[in-house]
């Protein structure tokens, strides 16, 4: 009886590892393949018999995407847009998240629900009027205009996520500071924000990744080199110049490096914030 129980446990453990390993291959395999492709000569990619491991390694594809296609410019634009988006969200969203987390006032629940509902609005429904409005005020093909458009769906998300982190910061220290004569503003800046520092970083990283990756708004709202971001640039390169696979793969790898690095650094806190927000919501 005990023997069979142990056996059953053993089988379940092995099955668990098999499931996890298969899912990991499914998730990571495509990325590894893209990485291997980016290291191959074009002649080794387009072959009669598939080469699984590159027989010879080259960095030409990386050199090609970086030097021949205005890729640095695209990356630069993306960095600016991402930075602006995060700044706007952090400045306005932190205040709102704090108000939602610490004060009871009339209309609070309705307002929070409103912040949630606007996230459900289809991007296409927003893109057309935003394009018309922004064209009217000269914000089409502007990095600031694009960042402003991004706040339309990232700010509500940021507020919800950060509110969860503020909620879990203890209120006692704040009360103590208030008793010592600190203003509400002082308590917020000096006590609560340092306490929720990890959450603030994780929420910012989450919207930074979203802004960095965004494609649809950027496609519609940028028309020239001046503000075009890398997802749009890469997509247009594929269409226009029949970009070789190796070069495309190299571009893909370069552009996801920041995502992977940021994700690796804050994944634990970010996962915490995402699940807390989603389960409560």
């Amino acid at each position: 009886m005990i023997e069979s129980k142990r056996q059953r446990r053993m089988i379940a453990n092995i099955a668990t590892y098999i499931v996890l390993a298969s899912l990991t291959v499914f998730c990571i395999g495509p990325m590894i393949w893209m990485f291997l492709t980016s290291l191959k000569y074009e002649a080794d990619i387009v072959t009669q018999t598939m080469q699984y491991l590159p027989s010879r390694v080259t960095f030409d594809n990386y050199v090609a995407i970086w030097t021949q296609s205005g890729f640095p410019r695209l990356i630069g634009n993306s960095l600016v847009v991402t930075f602006l988006t995060v700044t706007v969200c952090v400045v306005t969203g932190t205040l709102a998240a704090y108000a939602f987390s610490r004060f009871a006032f009339r209309g609070r629940d309705q307002l929070m629900l409103g912040y949630l509902v606007v996230r459900m609005f289809p991007a296409v429904m927003m893109i057309i009027p935003l394009y018309v409005v922004m064209r009217g005020v000269g914000l089409v093909d502007s990095r600031f205009g694009l960042a402003l458009a991004y706040t339309s769906f990232l700010l509500p998300l940021f507020v919800w996520m950060l509110k969860g982190f503020f909620d879990s910061a203890p209120k006692e220290l704040e009360s103590a500071a208030r008793i010592d004569g600190s203003t509400r503003l002082g308590a917020m800046v000096r006590i609560v924000m340092p306490l929720a520092r990890n959450g603030l970083v994780a929420s910012s990283v989450f919207i930074a990744i979203a802004a960095w990756n965004e494609f649809l708004f950027a496609l519609m709202l940028t028309t020239g080199q001046g503000s075009r971001t890398w997802p749009v640039g890469l997509q247009l390169m594929v269409g226009e110049f029949q970009l070789p696979w190796g070069v495309l793969a190299a571009g893909g790898i370069l552009s996801i490096i920041p995502v992977i690095v940021l994700f690796a650094i804050v994944q634990r806190t970010m996962v915490q914030g995402l699940t807390a927000g989603a389960i409560k919501g």
């Binding site: 495509p30 990325m31 296409v124 009027p129 989603a278 389960i279």
Partner: protein, 317 residues
């Protein structure tokens, strides 16, 4: 108290505006002031454009023909009724979303159950399995286009090697497989979202329930049916509706993989609306399409929430 505050003000008297703000924070309007910037921004970039977009759907607006302008009432909505592409796109949206969500939910449940056993070394699996969710659509799309390429796709090669396929297949160019292939890519991209939420839900189920069930002789299947699924009901319901909304609204992946083709085999509503605006600059019709999509989605969401009873507070476990 008063002297204390005077002390504080002299200490920070160099920052006069800051001190004024600090005093402002003591008034009872403070929370509204805190909300003001984000609220103003949201009204500006969401509420106003939304209302304006609804207005556009009752107008003629084509940037390519500036002469055409003015109110046309329900013209676009009537035109939609007899537009065959609209009906195809509607059908495809339902199939695409339902299949993708079903697949993602199953894979997510599998991943979450496995991760929840907390065997040694599974932390690293959790991180790796989560990664696709954070990858950009543009990279995900082209990566899978490479994997499934009709001439040099590694998946074709593997399938031929193990004897499933006779020869390489053009997955995205064949109307019979195009939609299924895009669903596979979407599942890869989206299932970590389910894994993430379901894992959090599983962590909330007390271990004792399983022990008690095991004592009563319940097998793994019975435990799943009698404990896990009922306890996860709220989380599953919330995750499904969030994902449905996300999928209906975002045409990115299809735009990159197939552009709606071949023919209209992978045309969905959001993509049709986007292309009507982006390629034809027919903003009036595109707005009408997106309004119909939005209203349909809202009706679905309201009905779904009522049926699955995700009410406030219930999901706090």
């Amino acid at each position: 108290m008063l002297s204390h505050r005077r002390f504080m003000t002299t200490a920070s008297s160099r920052y006069l505006p800051l001190r004024a703000l600090g005093e402002l924070s003591e008034t009872r309007y403070w929370m509204y002031l805190l909300l003001l910037p984000s609220l103003a921004l949201i009204l500006l970039v969401i509420a106003y454009p939304t209302l304006y977009g609804m207005a556009i759907s009752f107008r003629e607006m084509r940037l390519t023909r500036p002469g055409l302008d003015g109110w046309v009432g329900f013209k676009h909505y009537v035109a939609m009724w007899s537009d065959p592409v609209f009906w195809i796109a509607l059908k495809n949206t339902v199939v695409w979303v339902a299949a993708a969500v079903a697949l993602e939910l199953s894979l997510g449940l599998l991943a979450a159950t496995a991760l929840n056993r907390d065997l040694p070394g599974t932390k690293i699996f959790a991180v790796l399995i989560l990664l696709p969710y954070f990858l950009p659509n543009v990279v995900a799309g082209h990566m899978w286009a490479l994997l499934l390429d009709p001439r040099l796709g590694v998946i074709n090669d593997l399938l031929v090697r193990i004897g499933v396929l006779q020869s390489y297949k053009a997955w995205f160019a064949d109307p019979n497989t195009a939609l299924a292939a895009t669903i596979l890519v979407e599942a890869w991209h989206g299932f970590p979202f389910f894994a993430l939420l379901l894992l959090a839900g599983l962590k909330g189920i007390p271990e004792d329930l399983y022990k008690a069930a095991a004592v009563d002789g319940a097998g793994l299947a019975a435990q799943l049916r009698l404990i896990t699924l009922p306890m996860l009901k709220t989380v599953i319901a919330a995750a499904v509706i969030l994902r449905v909304i996300g999928l209906v609204n975002s045409p990115d992946l299809l735009l990159i993989l197939t552009g709606g083709g071949p023919g209209d085999a992978t045309q969905v509503l959001s993509l049709y609306a986007f292309q009507t605006a982006y390629k034809e600059f027919n903003f009036g019709y595109a707005s009408a399409l997106s309004v119909v999509m939005f209203v349909t989605l809202m009706i679905f969401a309201a009905g779904y929430i009522r049926i699955s009873r995700i009410t406030k507070g219930q999901g706090d476990d």
